[in-house]
């Protein structure tokens, strides 16, 4: 009798724990879906135009950028 009661108790506990875990998974998925939906609805609208600030580029960086620009211009003019 005691064994039967213990077995039923264990079975009931396992079912309860499994249900809790499933509910937690569902809650988490719902939360993620909701947040992703909110994130998706944020439209990046700031119209910040690229502009060179006063700081000059280092010589080696400027040389690479000039070379890259020239190669693109050559390609365009060909």
């Amino acid at each position: 009798m005691k064994r039967t009661v213990a077995a039923i108790f264990c079975l009931a506990s396992t079912i309860t724990l499994a249900q809790d875990a499933n509910e937690a998974d569902v809650d988490n998925k719902d939360h993620v879906d909701l947040r992703v939906s909110v994130i998706e609805s944020i439209v990046v609208t700031a119209e910040k135009l690229p502009s060179a600030n006063d700081e000059e580029a280092d010589e080696d960086i400027a040389a690479i950028l000039d070379e890259a620009e020239e190669s693109e211009e050559e390609q365009t003019s060909e």
């Binding site: 947040r35 944020i42 990046v44 700031a46 135009l49 280092d58 690479i64 070379e67 390609q75």
Partner: protein, 215 residues
């Protein structure tokens, strides 16, 4: 009265939140894998396909056309620079590209209720080099270029924030430093190292995931 006290407390706290620098060491803000944001997941997949074109150009100059010639020079010569110079090079190279508002490009998707919604459009590196883009496209192009130069995905995130100075959402690339603080690569060639900023960080993405900063 309690409501007015709460509003006062929030108004005092918000500027503090807005001036803190972006941090990478916040695992509790991780939300989901990158593909959970379909538009971003699709851009990552398209970029993966386009990498064959970039790799082919890097392997042989005759395979490069148009903008790819410039890209090849930046990647080849940039490879030998120190990491901080690589950041400056990529920042300046990308910021020279054509600015184009993407309002017309934004995907109009129909949600389950039949309601049409505007969503951000994320461009690939090649799309951006040929067609230009706006602030999130500049940040994305910097991300993909630095990945080509060997920067790790886990050290970079495209961060969408609310910019208090223009009262709109803006995107920048954040690059992690050794102390888990970050440098922000701005669209005006500045690399913001200070912890002070006008930004309230909303969310961040890279190829590994999405981080939600307003949970």
């Amino acid at each position: 009265v309690p409501n007015s006290r709460l509003a006062l407390a929030l108004s005092l706290l918000l500027p503090i939140a807005a001036t803190a620098g972006y941090r990478f060491d916040t695992p509790e803000t991780y939300l989901a894998e990158a593909e959970a944001l379909p538009a971003w997941g699709a851009t990552l997949a398209r970029h993966l396909e386009e990498r064959f074109v970039i790799q082919s150009c890097l392997a042989a100059e005759e395979h490069c056309d148009g903008r790819l010639k410039g890209l090849r020079i930046v990647l080849e010569k940039g490879e030998n620079l120190a990491p901080d110079k690589q950041l400056r090079l990529v920042n300046r190279y990308v910021n020279k590209r054509r600015y184009r508002k993407d309002r017309r490009q934004m995907s109009l998707s129909v949600a389950q209720g039949g309601q049409a919604k505007l969503r951000n459009h994320w461009t690939t590196l090649l799309d951006f080099l040929y067609k230009g883009g706006d602030c999130e496209d500049y940040a994305t192009a910097k991300y993909f270029l630095l990945r080509e130069l060997g920067f790790a995905a886990e050290d970079m995130r495209i961060v969408v924030s609310y910019d208090h100075s223009v009262r709109e959402h803006h995107a920048v690339l954040a690059v992690r430093q050794d102390d888990d603080s970050s440098w922000l690569l701005e669209i005006d060639n500045t690399i913001r190292k200070s912890r002070q900023s006008n930004y309230r960080f909303i969310y961040a993405i890279n190829e590994n995931g999405i981080w939600d900063h307003v949970q």
